[in-house]
Every structure is written in structure tokens, then in C-alpha cells.
């Protein structure tokens, strides 16, 4: 199959004329339109409603990223026992000073 052959095929196909709508087409469209709900102005609530699935997905992705980042950070820096003890004693000291 040569490139020239494909081009010729596309050129010929491009020349095909589209069929004309059958008589009474617009009457059939209008009959369908009368059964369809009337177009209404888009409310803010409607727009939010349309956006909601995207917002939900964006929020889920953000939460996932935060969890992943937290897991990575804790994997890279394992909790240190000495730091934990220092923190505890600090809290205890502050607590006694308060009294």
C-alpha cells in the first residue's frame, strides 16, 4: 500500500457529498424538542453541581498525595527514641513550671 494510493483514496472520499436532510426533518426535531425540558439559565448551584465530580477527584488526589508524602517522609526519617524522650521531658518540665 503506497502513500500515493492512500492519498488518492482520501482525495476521492473527500469529494463525496453529504446526503440532504429528508423533508420534514425540522418538524421531527421540533417534536423531539417539545418533549425535551426547556433550556434554563445555568445557576451557580448548577455549575457547582457540574464541577463537583471534578472537585471531588481533585480533593481525593490531593489527600492521596499528602498521605504518600507523609509515608515517604516517615520512611526516610525513622522516629528517633532519644528525640521522643527529650520531647516528653520537655513537656513534663513545662507542665511542672506551669504549677
Amino acid at each position: 500500500m503506497t502513500e500515493n494510493k492512500i492519498r488518492k483514496l482520501l482525495t476521492s472520499a473527500r469529494k463525496e457529498t453529504a446526503p440532504a436532510p429528508a423533508p420534514g426533518f425540522e418538524a421531527r426535531v421540533m417534536a423531539a424538542v417539545r418533549q425535551a425540558p426547556r433550556p434554563e439559565a445555568v445557576s451557580v448551584l448548577g455549575q457547582l453541581n457540574d464541577l463537583f465530580p471534578r472537585l471531588a477527584v481533585a480533593a481525593a488526589v490531593l489527600i492521596g498525595l499528602c498521605v504518600a508524602a507523609d509515608l515517604c517522609a516517615s520512611a526516610l526519617e525513622p522516629p528517633d527514641l532519644a528525640a521522643g524522650v527529650a520531647q516528653l521531658s520537655e513537656q513534663w518540665l513545662f507542665a511542672t513550671k506551669a504549677f
Binding site: 492512500i6 482520501l10 476521492s12 473527500r14 463525496e16 426535531v29 433550556p39
Partner: protein, 187 residues
């Protein structure tokens, strides 16, 4: 007669019947777009009707920044894409008219320099394009049959220019393979 903007303003103010005038004005354009994706005249008319009903339902979203016909074209393209996706699910049940022996002979003979009849070429192409995904088919049809630029395809489909370019290249390769299969095995 009034232009589209005036007609649309009247429709928005409750003159529902004026929508028929909009349908009359743009029906040929919608049929021209959709006939590239559906060859059966009954299905084509259903698709065109679906396009106009969708346009009616979302008329409030039309902000008149672009001409009405551009907006309507986008709705038609999306209706075509939905249609191709539905058809793909029932591909084995849907039969296309087989291309005539003359068209297949033309395809098989590399020396045959004559121009194929438009209808025969479109039938042959429709058969080969079945091998493509709906999105690829949309891109190659707009590029090669409607002569649209990447920018225009992006506007009408809502896809990025990279996606359109990638689909275009992939679609051409698949079309070539599909035509080679037809050349070897027939329909």
C-alpha cells in the same frame, strides 16, 4: 431575515418555535459533519436530531462569543464521538456494505492510476476506519477529509494539541494496516 443572534434572543424569550428556523439554517452543515461517521441514512438522521436536541437543551450555555455554527459543530462532533463509542461496543452486530469488486481491484492493483468514485472510496475508507478507536477516527476524519488544522480539531474536540497529533499519527498507521489487510483478504 434575522441573523442567528437575533433568533437566539427570541428563542430565549420564549419563542420556542423559532428554533425550527435555526434547524433549517444549519441542518445541511450538521448532516455534512455527521455523514463522515455514519453512512446509514436513518441512523444519520437520528444522530442529527440528537445533535439539535442537545443544542436545545444546552442553549443557555451558549455565550455567543463564537458563531452559533461553531458551537453547534462542537455538539455534532461530540455526538459523533458518542455514537462511534456505542457502535464499537456492538461492532460484530453491525454490518457495513461490502465494497464492490471494482474498489477492491483498485486497491490491489498498484498500477491502477485512475481515480476511484467518491462513493466507492468512502465505503472502502469506512470499512478500514472501523479498525481505529473512536478518538483516532475523529482526528483522521477531521484532518484528512475535512482538511482541518490541529488547532481547529482541538477547539472542536476539546483535546490538547499533543493528543491530537499523537492520535493523528497513530490513526494513519492503523489506516495503512487496515487497508493492507483489505488489499490482501478483501472485506
Amino acid at each position: 431575515m434575522n441573523d442567528d443572534a437575533e433568533l437566539l434572543a427570541r428563542i430565549r424569550n420564549g419563542a420556542q418555535d423559532d428554533f425550527a428556523e435555526l434547524v433549517r439554517r444549519h441542518q445541511s452543515h450538521v448532516f455534512a459533519i455527521l455523514s463522515r461517521y455514519e453512512r446509514d441514512p436513518h441512523k444519520l438522521e437520528d444522530l442529527a436530531q440528537e445533535t439539535f436536541v442537545k443544542a436545545w437543551r444546552s442553549l443557555a450555555q451558549f455565550d455567543q462569543r463564537a458563531p452559533f455554527q461553531h458551537w453547534l459543530s462542537r455538539i455534532a462532533v461530540h455526538a459523533a464521538l458518542d455514537h462511534l463509542r456505542r457502535e464499537r461496543r456492538h461492532r460484530s452486530e453491525i454490518r457495513l456494505p461490502e465494497p464492490g469488486e471494482d474498489a477492491l481491484e483498485w486497491l490491489r492493483n498498484p498500477e491502477d492510476g485512475r481515480e476511484l468514485e467518491a462513493r466507492q472510496a468512502a465505503e472502502l475508507l469506512a470499512l478500514a476506519l472501523r479498525e481505529l478507536s473512536p478518538a483516532e477516527r475523529l482526528v483522521i476524519t477531521m484532518q484528512e477529509l475535512e482538511g482541518r488544522s490541529v488547532k481547529e480539531i482541538c477547539e472542536r474536540t476539546g483535546s490538547s494539541s499533543i493528543a491530537v497529533r499523537v492520535r493523528g499519527v497513530r490513526a494513519r498507521a492503523k489506516l495503512r494496516r487496515a487497508l493492507e489487510r483489505l488489499e490482501k483478504d478483501g472485506a
